[in-house]
Point group: C2
Chain length 308, copies 2
């Protein structure tokens, strides 16, 4: 990294690289982290492009927060505890006010996920963020997509479809009169919460887990494939927020709950003798077979950046 | 990640996620790696944008190879052994022949650095690669930029300026009649070698280390700042390849050796009682003070993507 780029990162992202596991933070060729002995390292990377993965209208603070939280959600799905993250930022111009707001969002999300920013790179180009997250679990206790068993309960955390509804509010697709409901939905889009504590709590009890980033049906299909089972979803059981229900009709609510992306809730399977944890809802069952079944077939199912 | 993107990665990057430390490879929310107990994790990320960090004329195979090797070079500078890497790939279109060639470069570089590709993301946009590398060292033995002491020898590995000369050959800036020399220089640009074995060997003996990615003077300045010392470079001692010397005059050779980027050699300091290792050259000394001194002052020093 050249001098000025280094200065740019140093100035705006300084002080975010503090953490108990950090032996060497930003400013050398690499950061050095100490993980607990006997633990596995979990690592995932996510790229977000302006106009594709987030609205150009989103504030820099929210862009930072949301992108890191989306990446952290992959750790939640593994049951992993965040240890650190890295950010590669491509910017169209050296825009200092933008960077200042962006760094505020970064500081917020560091606090929210309890992990430091230990490295990064800045380059010039269309606004793009690549976030790499590092987490850890005990060596024998982590969650995958592949362990669902016929007979298991199929469960989700929180409520579904809110982020899609929030996006509809922001983009003017729907008008929501109740200011509190509108604010709730918008915040679910701009400031998602990775279910990190739940993911850690599910280690050793859930048989499979995934985070809902592309929409319930799309992500459920990944679990069905990886576990070689069939997931049966009952739309009547889907958890819908009061804010969404008061803003649009039931059909629209259910469609968003089934296909809306960016909720970052967890979808997981539990042996039938375990009840869903607090704040979670059983939405169906695991059966023999393949694919997913649901009494509703909304369109489109999730989305694909290359098919647009 | 959505279905088709997932398939894209699965199809082209399949089989590159094998390694002794890999507990879970590509295909879940995150990859899981086992690091040796008592070791530190070293992590760094680098973004390369077509037309800024690499020529649009570069083959997809070389783009893949070079980008990953550049990131691995940051591990060499820490004395770290590569454990795995992740790749975020932004592509203008779903170009299958391009991806096939690209994946060949990835396979080559996995072999060369001895580390698997354990995760990634594909998005649509201007060709951009973000590579995150993970490496490990014993907890108390790694290299930083900050330990150079007055009186230390200043050393570099290999020869300097070759990658800049190779870039000049590729872009038609110079004509080199000797085909073997031209090939050597071009290959130094398109297929650099991170000095991983040297970096590991320097653990416990070098007092500081950095990889030369922005040019000798620019990177030496980082060491001088981090170590709070002055680095004195004697241009007469700079190691120049026979291929470069036979292709351009001494002034041009020295300028490229001092400012040419992308050599990915190591610059390091050694206590004066230790001789430079095989294949390395002493190019100056560490003194009290700050900054760097050199008997030549070429222009420009390194480069900065935001100042272009």
């Amino acid at each position: 990294m050249s001098d000025s780029e280094f200065d740019l990162i140093q100035e705006f992202f300084a002080g975010l690289d503090q953490g108990s596991s950090v032996r060497l933070g930003v400013g050398d060729d690499a950061a050095a982290l100490a993980l607990p002995d006997g633990h596995l390292l979990h690592v995932s990377t996510d790229t977000a492009v302006e106009g594709v993965h987030f609205l150009a209208a989103l504030s820099p603070t929210d862009v930072a927060y949301r992108s890191v939280m989306a990446a952290a959600s992959d750790l939640a799905a593994m049951g992993a505890s965040p240890q650190a993250f890295l950010l590669s930022l491509t910017l169209p111009a050296r825009d200092l006010p933008w960077l200042e707001n962006f760094s505020r969002g970064l500081a917020d999300v560091c606090m929210a996920i309890g992990a430091p920013l230990v490295g990064g790179d800045t380059t010039r180009g269309p606004l793009t963020l690549t976030v790499t997250v590092l987490g850890s679990t005990p060596a024998d206790h982590y969650l995958t997509r592949s362990g669902a068993q016929p007979g298991d309960r199929l469960c989700v955390s929180g409520t579904l479809g809110d982020a899609a509804a929030g996006l509809a509010v922001i983009s003017g697709q729907i008008a929501v009169k109740d200011a509190a409901a509108a604010d709730f939905l918008v915040t679910r889009h701009t400031r998602p919460s990775a279910r990190l504590a739940l993911g850690e709590g599910l280690r050793g009890c859930a048989t499979s887990c995934i985070d809902i980033s592309d929409g319930l049906l799309a992500d459920a299909a990944h679990v069905a494939t990886a576990s070689n089972v069939r997931l049966e979803i009952d739309s009547a059981w889907l958890p819908l927020s009061a804010a969404m229900r008061s803003s649009v009709d039931l059909d629209q609510s259910l469609d968003w709950a089934l296909t809306g992306g960016d909720d970052y809730e967890l979808l997981f399977t539990l042996p039938s003798d375990l009840p869903p944890p607090d704040g979670c809802t059983e939405i169906g069952r695991v059966a023999e077979g393949s694919g997913i079944s649901c009494d509703r077939t909304p369109e489109p199912i999730g989305y694909d950046h290359f098919d647009r």
